[in-house]
Structure formats: structure tokens, C-alpha cells
Amino acid sequence: MENLLWANSRWGSKLLAMAIACLAAVWVAVPFLWAIGNSLKTHADIFKPGAIIPFLQFTPTLDAWRDVIGDPQALNCLFSSALVGVGTTLLVLLIGTPAAYSLARFEFKIKSKDITLWFLSQRVLPPVVVLTPFYILLAEFGLIDTWIGLILLYSTFNLAFCVVIMRDIFRDVSKEVEEAARIEGASLWQIFWMIALPLSLDGLIVTAFIVFAFCWNEALFASAVTSQHAATMPAFILASRSTRGVDFNFAAVNTILAIAPPVILSFFVQRYLARGLSFGAVKG
């Protein structure tokens, strides 16, 4: 594919494509670089005009980094975020993928399209409205400030993603192969497990990414339902807003700390994503 589409392009188009991609990469990079810059500034420098390039226009300092990393709560929050993110993703995939497959292949008394819409509707209500009832619910079961409590909450919120996205992936992929296998006498479970899942691996990975990203990102419930042990990075970042407003250099350090693990992770996972992509091609 690469060969045919890309090779057949005029070098003008290739250049344009490259330019757009590079521009996009710069667009993505600028805020990160700015965050790095902010994390190296003193309070006074944050709002000093002209303090853009470190060393040339302002003296960088590691104070903010030292303060944040020296705070054991920072690492604790990173760990909590990771744990909750992974836990939620696994739980969501576990519960949601079979449901999505079922909705993709079969019909129910209620149209599966409408059931999907119902799942989607779970995401419509702003979480803040149900915050207190959820808090009370968790408190009833002693799950305030626990990882399990957060995982249960987040799974509920994110199940919709898995169901909706995977249903669509399943609908397109592997129908013929499945039919062939059926004729061969494979059982429904075998088809689901051995054919449908592997062929939609890239969809699963994308879903996993999205669910993980949402958990990583979620600030409202994290700060309302946890106080110490299970506090995640977003709660930690929110706390850089103190009685004197935001400590922007701390917030910048937190931003970088918070984004580093998933981004590094995604660099690794991308390789599998690539495999997943070419898998579709090989199937031909």
C-alpha cells in the first residue's frame, strides 16, 4: 500500500504532505516546550516579558522540579494514576468487548442500534451532576479514597467508549472469515475468541488508549472522591492552585510529569499498533 499510493504521488504532493505533518508536529510540540520552559522558571520569571529561551533570556532553575519530585505525594499520585488507568482499561475491555461483539453480530428485541445509543447516552450527562450521589454510593461501601472505588467509577463512565467503538470495528472486520469458520463447524465462542478479537486488535488498542487517556485525564471525580491514598495526578495538579492562585511553574512540572509515562508508553505500544495495522493488510 505504501508503495502504490505513495510511490505514485508527485513529489509536490509528497512535499505538501510532509510539510503538513511537520507543521502539525511543531504545533503539538510548542506547548510541551513551553511547559518545560515554565518548569525551569522562578515565579518572577513566569510573567516576565521576553523570558522565552532559557539561558539566553532567563536563568533556568531546578527549584520547581526539586520541590515537586521531593514531594512523595507526586510519585504516589503518578502510581495511582497508572494503577487506576490500567485497572479501568482492563475492566472496560473485559466487560465491553463481548458486549460490543454481541451488538455487532446479533439482533435483539430492542434494536442493537438503540442499545448502542443507550450506552452512548451514559456519556451525555455531565459527571458533576451525579458527583454527590456517586460519592454517597462509594461512601456506603467504604470506597472513598480507594483505587477500587475510582476504578469502579471510571469503568462505568468509560464502558460506553468500548462498546460503541468496538461495535463498529467488529461490524466491518472479519465477517467473511467468521462465516467461513462457521461453515467449518467452529463454535460461537471459538469464533469470537480466535478470529474476531485478533482481527480487530488495532481497534482494541485504540479503545484501550482512549479509555486510558480518559482515566489519566479525569480531574473532577479524582479530586472529589480521593484525598490521600488514591489521589491521582489530576488531583495533584489541581492542588497546584493554592491560596495564592496557581503556582505556574509547579503546574508546568506536574504537566510534564503527568504526560511522560503515557507518552513513553505509547511510543512502545505504537510498534504493536503498527503490527496491528499491517495485519489488516496481510489478511488481504
Partner: protein, 294 residues
Amino acid sequence: MEATASVQSKAERGFKYALLAPAVIWVIGLTFFPILAAVHYSFANYVLGEGITGYVGFDNYARLLTDSGFWYSIFITVLYVGITVPIEVCAGFILAWLITIGLPGRSFFRPVLTAPLFTMEVAIGYLGVTLFTDQGGLVSALLGAFGIQIPWLSTAAGGLAAAMILDIWIWTPFVFLMSLATLSAIPNDIYDAAMLESSSHWQVFRHVAVPLAWPVLTIAILLRVIEGLKSFGLPYALTSGGPGTSTQLFSIMADLTTIQFTDFGRGSAMGIIYLILASVVISYFFKQMRKRIE
């Protein structure tokens, strides 16, 4: 013959329910009480420390529906989504297309272009304050070099614009990822065949990529609209809804009412009104978009 048919369909039935049930039970189980509670509160007068002090019928609803501030917040929320989502969708899809057709350096671009998705909206909001401020902010400095001065954070329009720019930065990768997944699920042969037929990238894009990716794209658009309407962390960190209440998106208003002021009565009513409005709009949207493919 009949026996096998009914056995098959019974096995099928068992199977399909077994797969679907856990998810449905989960969602109902965990959302039933909270949503019921929200509806319950919406008809009550709630005071911190005393709980529900009385029931007020539709009073909370009536007050909100006649509050111009409430409608204003819904208006700018819709505006916010109406501008950011189309841009995110176009940009995300085009970038995914470029990767799909074989852009060199894919293994570099893919993770880089996905990265913003993992940032925290609140953190980016704070970053945005330092980016858009005219006291040493990067954006102001760059624009200043061309003699342009935009009052980003001291006006409603500027504040909304800054929030939208950052929103696009964060969420374009979402569309990018989903487009990537679906574009790459399309077999190469189809692209090759189309290419041979028309030998124009644009034609392949328009007649092959977009139609085939449309189902998943619909989902992406829908999800972005749903999420976008709930936008909170980013605009809140950037402007706190100010100056005054001119950038107070719906979720900011809901957060203030429910969390800061513990006015669950009004907050829940807000949520229910929003739920009804949004559900109507979204399901109409959904059905329209689906019509195009089915």
C-alpha cells in the same frame, strides 16, 4: 433438522445475552441510583448541613429555564463545540490519511501526534494562562512581533478563542487515532484498485477513504460533541468563567452550583435539563448521520 435449528438459535441466544449482559447490568447497576438521586434532588431544596429541607415541585426547573445566565452558558457551550469539533475532525482525519498513505517517518509522527491526548485539561489550562497572557506569554510575544495585539484573557471572545485553540490541540489526536484505526482496517487492495482507477489522491480520498471511514468517523464526531458539550477543566483553568460570567460554559456553571455551593436542587435540575436537551440533539444527529450509510 428442526431440532438442530432450534438448538443453534438457542445456543446463539444464550451466547449473545451472555456477552451483552455484564455490560448492561454494570451500567444499570451503577448509574441507576445516581441518576435517580439526581432527579430526586431536582425537585427539592437542598441545604448543606440540613439535607433536603422541602420539596419545591418544578421551581428549580422554572427558575433555570427563565434564567438568562443559564441559556447564555448553553449558548456559548454549543458555540464552543460548533467551532472546535469540525476543526478537530478535519484536521485529525487528514493527518490520519497522510499517515495511512505512507508518509515517511510514520513511527515518529504517530506517537507525537497522539501525545496531547494524554495531557490533563486542567494542566493545559494553566499552561494556557502563561501562553496567552500579555505579560510574557509566548502567543502574545509572537503576535506582538507582527504588531498584533489580541486581548486574549481580558475579554469573553478572547478567552473563548484561547480555550478553543487549546481544546483543538488536545482533542485532534482523538479523531486522529480513531481515523487511523478505521483507515488502516480497510484492505490495501481497495486503495490500490482505486489508485489504479483514478490515479488521483484526491479522488481516492473522496471516494474511498471518506465513505469507508464514515461509520467510525460518525462515532468520533458524536463522541467529540458529547464530550465537548461537557467541557470543564480547560476553560475553567483558563478563565474561571470570567470576566464576569462571559466564558462560563455549562459545566463550569454546574460545577459551581453543585460542588462549590452545594445547591444540589438547582444543580440536579440543570443536569436533567441538559440531559434532555443534549439527548434530543445528539440522537437526532446520530440518526441523520447513520442514514447516510445505512
